[in-house]
Every structure is written in structure tokens, then in C-alpha cells.
Symmetry: C2
Subunit: 461 residues, 2 copies
């Protein structure tokens, strides 16, 4: 699948030339001679990149691009538009239509190959993020987030003030984003970076000939700026050394003589991509959090509680200190749902979670492990202390009635089963499952003993 | 926090020289003159990197390293050991003790700075993976995975067969991993990469002077090899062009004249890191899956079901087609748990999930939304079809008794509440929550009607 590149050109000789070049670079070239076959091959072959001639017999390259970008299956394939002519209007149209780059056919092979590697690398990184975020996106978070379009922040880094001023003027005419001129030192000293720029535009010969590229590598090594988009601006035609810039990770390389509209469009695209990648990273973060959290109460979930409990038990064994385990069940909670409806039940559970959290200590583990069932583990806690805390939790439920929207406040109580595990004192080691089982049994006794009470399971035989 | 570098050297002049150099590169240098203050500052300042002199007044640099690596809080800080002498024994000892690199004090500034950027970049990437995987690691998956230590796979890429043979001989004496000699084309043509190498060892002047570096960039742009560790081998002293190799993303740069033991130790360390990063990536993938899956049955969880239901409802509205929603509840399931214990109950739930999944269609949504409660949504389905499917599900529960380990097979039935949502036909749009509510009400009627039956909720008024 990898390295499949679709070459679209109406001139057979051109197709052959690129086929040979790409084959030598160990890519798998596929050939199309017009727009319709390009679209058909894009759908059937799913190429990793498309090299697209601007002039085709059946439709323009820009029109092909529009079709590609409108198809969700194909929209993310990188497309490099290739043209013999350098007409500004055509360049702009191709970039607006979603081209990832627009290269003259005269571009040297080294730059071309470096640009292809660079785009393929970016595509792989996005695909990896996408595949991670995919299950989470099903939950609809990404959709919510994409509603916001805050203006971005763009850093202009040049050692010639007049250059930075001109960039600000040129880009300001096309972009709504915040622009800040800064020196290399400013870009690297984090205190000045508020907000952290989304895009850095960097002069290639900053202070010395390799200064811009070096600054790029430095930004990539710092936590705040490692995901920023970076555009290198070369003085003179963009070719020389552009290959190195692409391999070093530049997201775009432009000439300082570039038309301001094209410059603006390229920077806008960098910003758009950076924002899309940020959102994917945020989805992944949210998703990972969700794996361990009960969505209703925000407490840890059962899965997390069980794994952490093993951890607490193991630490208790090595430190030879006891730990306490409580299973807490709301009394007659089913009636709340049946009488007042599920939203009322959910409000009660949320308030219970709040009261439990308010009455334990920082290092204690609190989780919702079932509908109306909660678990608390107390490391380094003996029976007397655990019992005090359990009694306090019982009172915390009983003393203040629970508010239910639309109804009178409701009196509720909880039953608690308490077990102490003191493996440090015994020869045989009690498994965590057995401790939970003892707490469960104690809870059943609390229920059958009349509810609203703490029952203690004494150590296993 | 970023760019904080701890310089440890007993000679004041050296400390000042490096302080000036690192300050000019916009790092924040911190100074220590002996091992004890290095360890104290490492703990209090949490530097991003440590430049450590080998000879210190109170202990050797290698001893300092061992202390750093033994402390979980400090173990991941990159450490570059710096020495005036080039004694092989000392180099090896420092690398075995966990140095990330061992540089002669005579190294040129450009290489030094590029190496620092390179290590800091690697550290940031790992830190980002770690922070993503942290909530998941609490679940214990990473611990499980780390029990395995399969031999790695190492690719030896040189255009001189005698060089690759020597590498294989030298490394084979120190490493248990599988080694494969290959050409540049072999490395890039995926069919030959089984298994995909964990480490690529690449001659820098492969075919042409920049050939090795270019191959590295190409490997980084291909999905199978983008996370591989890459070691560039230079003919002659490692300094020249090493800076560029580091900035291009080499994980290590060594000289072809390096002592085989040092070469082996460096490659072993690359392999170890690559494996650790692979595990973190796997944890993140597992964690993301867990956010949408019910761990017991492997079905989708409630959270996922609710979000997907909104999606199904929205598609149904735009296509003006009805969809069906079922809520399925096992009858008298509490008795299974109470009589046979939770493991028996879990076995029953798993089998119920299997039977439900076997009796619906590919595009249908199936989730466990509560203890013994399941949800099925059927897109593009009218009442007659949905009812047929619901009746089939009822029979699927009833017809074959459920196996319970250690007991006689158990007869069980389910009740099903069925609601059809046909927003395409109505003026007012019924919210998803209202459809669920109707299915819930129908389920209650099925229960009160004697269980083991399907009850249909007719469209909302």
C-alpha cells in the first residue's frame, strides 16, 4: 500500500519520465492521462499521493482537485500540482482548490523527491492520529470541538525588521490571525510565547546561512512548539536547499518574492492543518481519559478501581500496613428512578459522588462500580480509622436530604460493607477478589440488618 | 520548564564555557560541580537534559548515572557523558550505566548542539506518549505487555557487502536479535520487510555521500518504518555531518571504526527504546478502544450507543426512513447472580451478547447499556421487520438453555421493548431521548405482561 503515487499527465513522455524517476526512488507509480481516469484510479487504487498536471484533455487539474477534495474517501490524499506555466491565477486557483503544493515542472529532482517524502511523512502522521482518534470521534467530541474557529497565532521570525513588517502587511491583508514579530531568541524563550504560535514563518538565512533551519530543529525539540507548523522563507528562488528544509521537517518552503496572495493562502492552509491535528490530539486525550472515568459522576470507573486496588494491595503487602475497603450501596435507590424518573436518579447519584469525595482523603480511591454502588479503598488505614470514616459517610448521606428538580427534597441513606486487609500480619496472602467478596458480604449484612449502617467483615479465617 | 540543562563539571572554567554556549542557544543552564549536587539539583530542578563530566571529585560520572537511572523520577532524563579521555572501558561503563551518548570534550559545537536538540526532541515525543498512556497504564496493560521480551529485528543497510558482514559479526557477538542484510531498495520495498525491522543500521555514504541520510528520510515517510530506530554509520570519525544526521532524526550516529562492544551496546539501547515506545503506542490504542467497549461482553458500551444513536436518528431524518430501537432486559437475572454467583452471571451475559450479535445484521447497533440491559438500533427498518427480528431474539434466548460451569444448564428468557421512530413522516421531530423512553416504557409493559415477550410502543402522540 505504501509509496503508491498516481502520476496524471496528458503527455506520454512526461508520464514515462516520472514513472522512471519514482520507480528508482522505490515508489510504485500508477499512470493516468486525463482527469476522469485520475478520479477513477484514485478511488480504486487509493494512492498515497497524486502528482497532477494542470492541463488535462477533459478537465483542468484544478477541477480534478475539487472532485478529490469533495470526496471524503479521497480528500486527505496529498496532491502536488505540476505545471509548465507559472501563471499566478492558475497557481492561486489550484491552491484554493486544495493543492498541497504547486511546483513548476522545471523543479530539480532532489527538491521534488524531498517534497514527496515530506508530504508522505505528514500524511502518515495524520493517518496515525486519525486511526487513534476514530473510536473517540464516534462519540461526537470532535464534532463539538470543530464548531469553534478561533483566530490562530502566527510568529514572524526575521533578523531584518523590514522583512517581518512586509510579511505582516502582506499576510494581514489576507488572514484574520494574530501576528507577532519576534527574534530567534524570542521564539525560543517561552515566556514571550503567549499564546504559543500555531505557525512560525522563518527566514532561512537567520543570522547565518543555516540559521533558519537550525531554529526549526530547535523549535521541534521544545514541548510548546514541537507541533507548530513551520514555513521557511528563502531569499531568492525557493529551490536551493529547499530539499534539506523539507527533510528537516518544514511544512512549507516559499520564496521571499512570492505573491502575497499565494503566501497568504499557503499560510492559511498550514494553520488549518495544524488546527485539525490539534483537534485529533485532543480527541485522543479525551478518549484516554474516558477509558477510566464514569461519565455520569466523573468518578473513576469499575475497571480502573479494580486495577488500582491490586496496586494498593501490593503496596500494602510490601509496607506491611493494612488497607480498608468499603462497598457502598444506596438504600432503596430503585424507587428513586421508578418514582421520579431516570434524570432524578442521575442527579442523586451525582450528589452522592460529591458527598463521598468530600468525606475521604486525597490518597483514597473512590469509584462508581455499579448503578448505585460505589467503592472506596483507604491505603494505610486500620479498622478503627476506617470505621470512623465509614460512619461519617453514612451520616453524610442521611443528614441532608437530596434535591430533586421539580420535587420535594428526598431523604436517602446508604449501607456500607467494610473489610480490612492486613496481609502484612498473616502467613497466607488474601487475594484482592476475596477482600472485595468480604466487603460485599458485609454489605449484604448491613442491608439485612436494616440498612443505613456500616457492617464490618472481620479478617478471613 | 523547557530547555533546562544541568551542566556537571568539576572545573569552573568548563562550567562557564558551557553555560555561555548553552545560554546563547537559548537554553537555561544550571551548574553543579560534583556528583552529590548534580543529584540534588536533578531532583529539585528536574532538568530536561544533563551534561555530565566523567571525572568528579566525590564520585565518578558513571556512579552518578547509576543513581539517576535507579530513581523513577529521574530515570528518563537524557544524559550525555562528557569526557576529556577516550578510554574504551570508561565509555562502555558509562553506556552500560545508561548514558544516552558519550562525547569527547573536543566535539565541535555544531554536533553538540544538534545532539542536544535531537535528544530533547526524543524526550518530548516519549513524554507526550507517556502522558497519553498514563491513565491506561494504571489499568495494568503495559505491565502485562512488558513481560515479553521477544528478540528484535535489525536491518543492516550497506552497499559494501563486507561492511554489512562485519556488522553482523560484530553485533551478533553481543545481541540475540535477528539481523538481516539488505540494500537500500530492500529497505524501501515492503514485501521484503518481514518482520519490519525495529532498528535500521545505515551506512551514511550509501551509493552517494548523502545516500544514507536520504534513505533515513524515506524510511520516516513510510508507514511500516516511520517509528523504526535509525543508526547512521559514518566512515571515518563521526563528527563531520553528524549534526545534520541528528537534525534529520537519526537516533544515533556512530563511526565505522567503533569498538564492537560499544556498537553493540548502542544498538541494544536503540532497540530497548524502540520497544518501550511501541508498548506506549499499544497502550494508547488499547485505551482508546476501551473508551467505547464494555469489557465483559466486548459489545459497545452505553456511552458509545447513545452517541451512535444520535447519528442513526440524524441519518434516518435526512433519508426519510424509519429506524427501530429495542431495549432488551434479561428476565429474573438477579437470581442468577444470587444463586450461582457473579462468575456464572458474567458467563450468562457473555453468551447473551453472543446470541444477540448472531441474530442481527451487519449495520445494526448492539450495545450493553446496563447490568443485564442491552440496546439494539436497526437503521432503515420498519415495524414489521423490527418485530420479526425482536421475536427471533426472544426465541434465541429461550430455545437453548444457558451453560453455567458446575451447574445444570439454565433456562432464561428476555423481555424486549420496541419503538419505531419515523420522523420522516411527521412534522415534529422526536428527540432520541424520547425514543429511548418509549422503548423503556414498552419494556416495562413486556415485564408486567408476564416477561419473555416483545411489546411495541406505537409512535408518540
Amino acid at each position: 500500500m505504501a509509496g503508491k503515487i498516481l502520476i496524471v499527465d496528458d503527455v506520454a513522455t512526461n508520464r514515462i519520465v516520472y514513472k522512471v524517476k519514482l520507480g528508482a526512488a522505490c515508489y510504485a507509480p500508477i499512470l493516468a492521462s486525463d482527469g476522469a481516469s485520475c478520479l477513477a484510479l484514485a478511488r480504486s487504487e487509493k494512492p498515497d499521493l497524486i502528482l497532477l498536471d494542470l492541463v488535462l484533455p477533459d478537465m483542468s487539474g484544478t477541477e480534478v482537485l475539487r472532485h478529490l477534495r469533495a470526496d471524503p474517501e479521497l480528500a486527505s490524499i496529498p496532491v502536488v500540482v505540476f505545471s509548465a506555466e507559472a501563471d499566478m491565477k492558475a497557481r492561486l486557483a489550484a491552491l484554493y482548490a486544495g493543492a498541497d503544493d504547486f511546483l513548476a515542472k522545471s523543479v530539480d529532482d532532489q527538491t521534488l523527491m524531498a517534497r514527496l517524502r515530506n508530504l508522505l511523512r505528514g500524511r502518515e502522521a495524520m493517518a496515525e492520529l486519525e486511526s487513534g482518534a476514530a473510536p473517540i470521534r464516534a462519540l461526537g467530541f470532535a464534532e463539538l470541538a470543530s464548531g469553534f474557529h478561533l483566530p490562530g497565532s502566527i510568529a514572524l521570525v526575521s533578523h531584518r525588521p523590514e522583512t517581518a513588517l512586509r510579511w505582516r502587511h502582506d499576510l494581514g491583508a489576507h488572514l484574520p490571525d494574530q501576528m507577532t514579530m519576534m527574534s530567534r531568541e524570542g521564539a525560543l524563550s517561552e515566556v514571550q510565547l503567549t499564546p504559543v504560535p500555531d505557525v512560525f514563518i522563518i527566514e532561512s538565512d537567520l543570522a547565518d546561512p543555516m540559521g533558519g533551519l537550525r531554529l526549526m530543529s530547535e523549535l521541534r525539540s521544545r514541548p510548546q512548539t514541537r507541533h507548530a507548523a513551520i514555513c521557511i522563507v528563502k531569499n531568492g528562488p525557493a529551490n536551493s536547499d529547499a530539499a534539506m528544509a523539507f527533510d528537516l521537517g518544514a511544512d512549507d518552503v516559499v520564496s521571499n518574492e512570492m505573491d502575497p496572495r499565494e503566501f497568504g493562502q499557503r499560510v492559511a492552509r498550514l494553520l488549518q492543518r495544524k488546527t485539525a491535528a490539534d483537534k485529533l490530539r485532543a480527541s485522543v486525550r479525551d478518549g484516554l481519559r474516558m477509558a477510566v472515568i464514569d461519565p455520569l459522576t466523573g468518578l473513576h470507573n469499575r475497571r480502573y478501581a479494580i486495577s488500582q486496588l491490586a496496586e494498593i494491595a501490593s503496596r500494602a503487602r510490601s509496607s506491611k500496613r493494612p488497607f480498608a475497603l468499603m462497598v457502598i450501596d444506596l438504600d432503596r435507590f430503585k424507587q428513586v428512578n421508578d418514582t421520579f424518573g431516570h434524570p432524578a436518579g442521575d442527579a442523586v447519584l451525582t450528589e452522592v459522588a460529591r458527598r463521598l469525595a468530600a468525606n475521604i482523603r486525597g490518597g483514597d480511591l473512590l469509584a462508581r462500580i455499579g448503578g448505585e454502588e460505589f467503592l472506596i479503598a483507604l491505603p494505610n488505614t486500620d479498622l478503627a480509622n476506617a470505621n470512623t470514616i465509614a460512619q461519617r459517610l453514612c451520616r453524610a448521606m442521611q443528614e441532608v436530604p437530596f434535591d430533586i428538580p421539580g420535587f420535594a427534597p428526598l431523604d436517602l441513606t446508604a449501607s456500607i460493607g467494610l473489610a480490612i486487609c492486613d496481609n502484612g500480619q498473616t502467613w497466607t496472602e488474601e487475594p484482592v477478589a476475596a477482600v472485595i467478596e468480604r466487603a460485599d458480604q458485609a454489605l449484604l449484612m448491613a442491608k439485612s440488618g436494616g440498612r443505613n449502617q456500616v457492617t464490618i467483615s472481620h479478617a478471613a479465617a
